[in-house]
């Protein structure tokens, strides 16, 4: 059984309108997402902005209300108690996209890291201090950082503080919402490698939300591609990158730049081909609302949103 199961998750936001401010319509930010996440693996959620990938992550986390569907974590249904259930709160943590707004500017690093500890663990002052030093060591920051404020750090360092805070409670699952997209490219690799390192050390499971396919390919074991709140294609990393089935996935994959000049001709060719297919058979892939069809299995691990293919 999967470690985290998300079944037919829907998150709809009401649109208020009219004279009395009644709900006139809904924005279907997430519209029926199902996924299985294996322990110790990294699951990538990919899509353009507005595709619902962040909302999915936040809904699992309990930051957004769920309209329908359920979430089963470690065999227990936690759908309605994501915010209150203590073990879920401790076991599932989040790394935020923006390292500038995700740390309270008024708190010293010490207080930032102590917040989760104080909420869940009754530690003495000296134990608490010791834990915080350990955390700083894990993320590679110097011990004297603890009395500094977030603005005294660089973006990469801040993200490390964010990661230290997320791992403070020794969680089992971390939802990383575009953890490196606000960072300089030179710092991105650093943070990513470091995330992989702690994954190995502590047996962490990641949900990695991102839009940079290069990064996703580098870190993920399995990938789900989202478009307008629905899954377009889901599969293992090499299935997605080497055998994309849906035109949307193909276009994403074809857009990845390749630095090897010898492949340039091949690349241009592939793009032209994909573009032609996209123009010719748009209606095969999208319904009349421009949404994708329900997922179908084409192999044990590979699912694509196509009508009439697979079983």
């Amino acid at each position: 059984m999967a470690y985290l199961e998300v079944n037919d998750l829907k998150v709809h936001f009401p649109i208020k309108g009219g004279i009395f401010g009644r709900t006139v319509d809904h924005v279907k930010a997430v519209d029926g997402v199902t996924m299985r996440i294996e322990k110790g693996k990294t699951y990538g959620l990919v899509g353009e902005s507005g595709s619902g990938k962040s909302t999915t992550g936040r809904a699992i986390m309990g930051l957004n209300k769920i309209t329908a569907g359920n979430i089963i974590f470690d065999g227990k249904d936690v759908t309605n108690e994501r915010g209150t259930r203590e073990d879920f709160r401790k076991d599932v943590q989040m790394i935020f996209q923006d390292p500038y707004s995700s740390l309270n500017p008024r708190k010293r690093v010490y207080e930032i890291l102590a917040e989760p500890l104080r909420n869940f663990e009754k530690l003495s002052k000296s134990e608490e201090k010791k834990r915080i030093y350990e955390l700083l060591e894990i993320v590679g920051l110097s011990p004297e950082s603890i009395y500094k404020y977030p603005h005294q750090f660089s973006g990469g360092q801040r993200q490390r503080i964010g990661i230290a805070r997320a791992v403070a409670l020794q969680p089992k699952l971390i939802i990383a919402d575009e953890p490196v997209s606000a960072l300089d490219v030179s710092v991105q690799a650093q943070v990513l490698n470091f995330m992989q390192q702690i994954q190995e050390e502590y047996g962490l499971t990641y949900i990695f939300i991102g839009h940079d396919l290069g990064v996703i390919r580098h870190v993920c074991d399995r990938i789900g591609i989202m478009y307008k709140g629905r899954f377009v294609e889901e599969g293992n990393t090499d299935e997605i990158f080497n055998n994309p089935q849906h035109i949307y996935t193909k276009r994403l994959v074809s857009a990845i730049p390749d630095i090897d000049p010898r492949n340039r001709g091949k690349q241009i060719n592939f793009r032209a081909q994909v573009q032609k297919e996209y123009e010719e058979s748009f209606s095969d892939y999208f319904d009349e609302d421009g949404l994708v069809y329900p997922l179908r299995k084409i192999s044990d691990t590979h699912l694509v949103a196509l009508p009439g293919r697979g079983e």
Binding site: G18, I19, F20, G21
Partner: protein, 320 residues
């Protein structure tokens, strides 16, 4: 557009009802009731009780409220305990006086605000602007009643340029020119006092609006097309800045109402504000109730009008 207006009016209705209920209860808390002024003190307790019962003072509050509010809607505020006349009768002349005073203040407010704001915004950071900014700065910190006191002391008593009480010189026939001039003469000093304080907000708004607009791209475009400086100001900048100002008059109105209590007291001007204070001091509560209700109504309507006009002029407001 109309949706915003309808919604705004719908918000106002509960406000009106709540206001009237609040005033109704405050009236109930005021010592004595309509009877204590009317009844012969020699009557014994039981007769009074019987009379109270007859008049419905022992009914549940909502029935009493219902009777009271239906009277109010028809313009019946009851009888003044002190003056033994219909409150409406008492109000009508006072209301006219206050209305004229407010209107004159409003006119003077705009007469001061527009040129000062425009000069200040157009020539910002020059000497004229610095003087005007200094004035608005001090004006903001000055309570109206202190300013009015200083004005009446200096122009009324010391220089003796203006009358220091009343709304018209006694002995003049209504309708004549000298009667009209005397009215204006009596209103002028209080109106100027109010306007000089009330105007500072508008001056500041106009100034910052013009300075903002000056740097907008469409103004640069107009200049680039070769429009003369005065054309740029008259055709482009003022039009943009003045429209919201026009919409402020509802809010101004609400501010003037609060101010009229001070100004009418200081200038012994027989208006609603003075009537309100006198009635409170005389414990003439049916008059108090009526004046509070009318002023409350005026405040609510003032902000309604301003909100609607502003939303017509400035679509950003509507998104709220």
């Amino acid at each position: 557009m109309w949706k915003f207006i309808v919604r705004r009016i719908l918000i106002m209705i509960p406000q009106l009802i709540l206001l009237s209920i609040l005033i109704f209860f405050l009236a109930g808390l005021m010592p004595g009731d309509a009877l204590s002024g009317q009844i012969d003190p020699s009557l014994d307790f039981e007769t009074i009780e019987k009379k109270r019962e007859e008049l419905g003072f022992n009914d549940p509050w909502y029935q009493q409220y219902g009777r009271w509010i239906s009277g109010v809607v028809q313009g019946d505020f009851g009888i003044s305990f002190r003056h033994k006349v219909q409150v409406t009768e008492l109000l009508s002349e006072r209301m006219t006086n206050t209305l004229w005073l407010s209107l004159l203040s409003l006119v003077i407010t705009y007469l001061i605000a527009i040129p000062l704001g425009v000069i200040s915004g157009r020539y910002n950071d020059r000497i004229a602007d610095q003087l005007i900014t200094g004035y608005t700065y001090i004006g903001f910190a000055t309570p109206l009643f202190i300013f009015a006191l200083l004005m009446v002391w200096f122009f009324g008593f010391y220089l003796d340029w203006f009358p220091t009480g009343g709304s018209v010189k006694p002995g003049l026939t209504p309708g004549t020119f000298s009667y009209f001039m005397s009215k204006i003469h009596h209103m002028l000093l209080p109106a100027i006092s109010m306007a000089l304080i009330a105007t500072v907000g508008t001056v500041q708004y106009l100034r910052s609006e013009i300075i903002d607009t000056k740097q907008k791209d469409f103004i640069l475009t107009a200049r680039a097309k070769g429009a003369s400086e005065s054309r740029v100001y008259n055709r482009h900048i003022f039009r943009n800045a003045l429209l919201p100002i026009a919409a402020f008059f509802g809010y101004e109105m609400a501010a003037l109402i609060g101010g009229s209590i001070f100004v009418e007291t200081i200038f012994s001007y027989p208006g609603m504000g003075q009537l309100f204070l006198d009635s409170i001091n005389l414990r003439d509560y049916s008059v108090v109730t009526a004046t509070v209700l009318i002023f409350g109504l005026a405040t609510i309507l003032g902000s309604l009008i301003s909100d609607i006009v502003l939303s017509l002029v400035d679509p950003r407001i509507r998104i709220k």
